[in-house]
């Protein structure tokens, strides 16, 4: 369904015919006024065409020459091999070198890191001796947990007396 504006424009430009034209003209409240406005709009069209339609381009050849130049420059830019230092192979090699350096540095630093020192208490236990005369059936187990708490477990069986230097500190 056409709007009034569309029908009016089509009517003004002579694009309506037959039944459509008759229906549109019949729908106008004042056909004579509409016809006057149509003539006025056509006058405007002719006036615009007359005033704006005869414009010329000065320096036509220069205009074309400039376009030709721009196109040639553009094509030359596209054809020129790109010689940027950061080519893809160079980027890959740089990345790989950086990664290798990182790995080496990490390994060296980790190997130099001092391992956790044995606790004084464990040393004391290990250095101790169980007197076989006093404890003929003694069995002693020592465990050290590997978690971050580093708990040392002393498991004894058949101990009748403890050596004096076994006192835990």
């Amino acid at each position: 369904m056409k709007t009034f504006e569309e029908k009016w424009t089509a009517w003004l430009d002579g694009q309506l015919s037959g039944k459509e034209l008759a229906e549109f003209e019949a729908s106008l409240p004042d056909l004579a006024a509409a016809q006057a406005e149509k003539r006025d709009a056509q006058k405007l069209g002719a006036f615009l065409k007359d005033q704006l339609g005869a414009l010329t381009l000065s320096n036509e050849e220069f205009f074309s020459h400039q376009i030709h130049d721009r196109i040639a420059r553009d094509s030359a830019d596209r054809d020129r091999p790109r010689s940027s230092w950061w080519t893809i192979p160079r980027l890959v090699w740089s990345g790989a070198t950086a990664l290798a350096l990182f790995v080496i540095t990490t390994v060296v630093l980790m190997s130099q890191h001092p391992s956790g020192e044995q606790s004084e208490y464990l040393t004391q236990i290990l250095n101790s001796r169980v007197d076989p005369a006093a404890n003929p059936n003694a069995t002693i187990y020592i465990f050290e947990s590997k978690n971050e708490n580093k708990v040392t477990v002393l498991w004894t069986e058949g101990l009748q007396t403890l050596p004096a230097d076994y006192a835990a500190k």
């Binding site: 504006e5 569309e6 006025d40 704006l52 005869a54 414009l55 036509e60 030709h68």
Partner: protein, 203 residues
């Protein structure tokens, strides 16, 4: 629609020129530029009202056309196709300029180069100074009236009244429906009738 062609040029079909352009022949594109440069320039000039800007925008449009000519499939005429580029370039420029200027309109310090179409074949005396003044004044009124329209309304009225394009060609150029073209024409005409009536009634 008129084109700037000589009989020799007219023999070369436009589609053939386009095909040669698509094969990378810049000479073929030169011929297309020669055919349409004046009309493209005039259309842009009537939209922007400044000779230097119109020159630059016409140049940009042709360079853009060259870059995208590979995508031209021949479904429309070359003229409609290049007009689409011209309109996109010009309307974008107008919008940017309006935003930059906070909605301000064009300067009208322009040098018009109008000639009678017949002067190419029939020498004609230059207009008298008072006629030139009068023309300049009329042109100023028209430019001012057109500058009051939105870029889309300007495009529609100029393509219809100056280029005598059909509704469907305008719609194709602007990428909108025929109904939108007709509606814009309605409002653009009304506005210009109101602002220019005293001018065209007395010319």
């Amino acid at each position: 629609m008129q084109t700037e062609t000589t009989p020799a040029q007219a023999d070369v079909s436009e589609l053939d020129l386009v095909r040669r352009c698509q094969a990378g022949e810049t000479e073929a594109f030169d011929q297309l530029v020669t055919r349409y440069r004046t009309r493209v320039f005039a259309m842009i000039y009537n939209m922007v009202h400044n000779e230097q800007d119109a020159w630059d925008l016409a140049q940009d449009s042709f360079v853009k056309a060259w870059k995208s000519i590979g995508r031209f499939r021949g479904k429309s005429s070359f003229y409609t196709w290049i007009y689409r580029i011209v309109m996109n370039v010009t309307i974008d420029w107008l919008r940017k300029r309006q935003i930059k200027a906070g909605g301000a309109e064009f300067d009208d310090a322009i040098q018009l180069k109008e000639i009678d179409p017949a002067s190419k074949t029939v020498p004609k005396a230059d207009p008298l100074p008072h006629q030139r003044m009068e023309r300049k004044e009329i042109r100023g009124r028209i430019d001012h009236a057109i500058s009051q329209l939105s870029p889309e309304h300007r495009a529609v009225i100029l393509m219809k009244e100056i280029e005598e394009m059909q509704y469907h060609e305008i719609a194709e150029t602007l990428g909108c429906s025929i109904g939108t073209v007709m509606s814009r024409l309605f409002y653009a005409r009304k506005k210009l009738q109101n602002t220019l009536r005293d001018v065209y009634e007395n010319v």
